[in-house]
Symmetry: C2
DNA sequence: TTCATATTGTGATAAGAATCACGCAACCGG
DNA sequence: CCGGTTGCGTGATTCTTATCACAATATGAA
């Protein structure tokens, strides 16, 4: 087994996340062992790609046999850092925030939302999910410290995204997931991901507008 | 030179979408002309990257001067196919669906949601946004035809995502944006984008897990 | 006009990611 | 325990994307 410390393609990380989902589905379907062929079929990735992705991190399969379904899922979770609880706060309890608070898959992947914050005084005190009550943004700092939260999710309107990011950083958060449709800026030492839902739709529009091109060929 | 026959990188399309946002911001800030340097600064992309991205589609700037802020935004919108209305339906009016229905940026980019559908009988008839009333899923086919809808957005639970996709395809939709956390399958001639919010968080977890800490190697 | 300056557009090059192809390990039936 | 078959792991190869560097072109001043 070799643990390389070469740079891992971001695309690989993205795929690993989907492998987990597919593996859990296949596990539910009764497959105790899966081949890269079967897994690839299930999540629409080439078998070689899967093996290559995994090879960045070690050897998880058995030649001539395949991968243990459950065990591979566990291994990938460990690779992604999903083998422990990520304590998370969420700022901006609009519909999107509410949607994320209720998103069970988050919990299943180890993300526990311990605080929900909103600027609207009328919302303060409302119970949003199991035991989480909406707090004013002014309480952000306290809660982050008390709960030792490491991740912050931004679901406020674009206009307030940057100030929210600043508050999270100030509070001691080290990772931020930003859903507001502008790119926020954070210090070097903070890990940030901007998620642009709008650009996904834009992308779809582009694809639809230019569909004259031939689809990529499939392997036979 | 006009649009070449070359394949455009998907990453380029994604960036074009963000350029629009940045250009509109800069326009609001009073810049009538922007250089690739300024735009790059604003949206955190290298100037060369911007020029290269644009060069796939033509020449939009003036050497020694820069780009007209408004006009470049317009041009990019045209490239992405955002220069006309995309008639859209949305299935699954949970919190996420509701969030998208209220998302003003969608409308600004030309996406008009003309129908909202849900399987829950209790929700039928509720007004969700300007004049849109929640309809039963059984009405999907009719509405798609009547409104000539081209795009379908899936915001139903994972368990119902595939059947929803099938219904959309059956109804005559040509493009689908799927937010359910499983990859749905559609016929060749349908354009599909799967958006995985979960994988964004997973990705963040990975980045956080591997920031300063070098992976310890195990001896077997 | 001509020079100095700004900034685009793009071919060449480098970096990065996906695919291929094959060695090799594990299982199975006889 | 032997030969056939399956299917992983990975170096080599191909394909894709990003970066670089500079010629080309516009502006403004003298």
């Amino acid at each position: 087994m070799k643990q390389k410390d070469v740079k891992i393609p971001e695309a690989t990380i993205k795929r690993l996340s989907t492998y987990i989902n597919c593996l859990e589905k296949l596990d539910g379907d009764g497959y105790q062992v899966v081949s890269s062929d079967l897994l690839g079929e299930s999540c629409q990735v080439s078998p070689a790609q899967i093996r290559k992705d995994l090879s960045y991190f070690g050897e998880f399969g058995v030649r001539g046999v395949g991968y243990g379904t459950r065990s591979l899922a566990e291994q990938i979770k460990k690779i992604l850092g999903l083998d422990h609880i990520w304590t998370t706060v969420l700022v901006g309890v609009g519909h999107l925030g509410q949607a994320l608070l209720n998103f069970t898959a988050f919990r299943q992947h180890g993300f526990r939302i311990v605080g929900a914050f909103d600027a609207d005084p009328a919302k303060i005190g409302t119970v949003v999910s199991d035991g989480v009550v909406i707090e004013p943004v002014s309480a952000l700092d306290d809660t982050i410290h008390r709960e030792q939260a490491g991740i912050g999710i931004i679901t406020v309107p674009a206009a307030n995204a940057q100030e929210t990011a600043d508050l999270l950083v100030e509070g001691g958060i080290t990772g931020i997931l930003n859903f507001a449709p502008i790119k926020v800026r954070v210090p070097e030492n903070i890990t940030l991901r901007n998620v642009s839902i709008l650009s996904e739709l834009d992308n779809l529009a582009y694809l639809l507008s230019n569909r004259t091109r031939r689809r990529s060929r499939k392997k036979s």
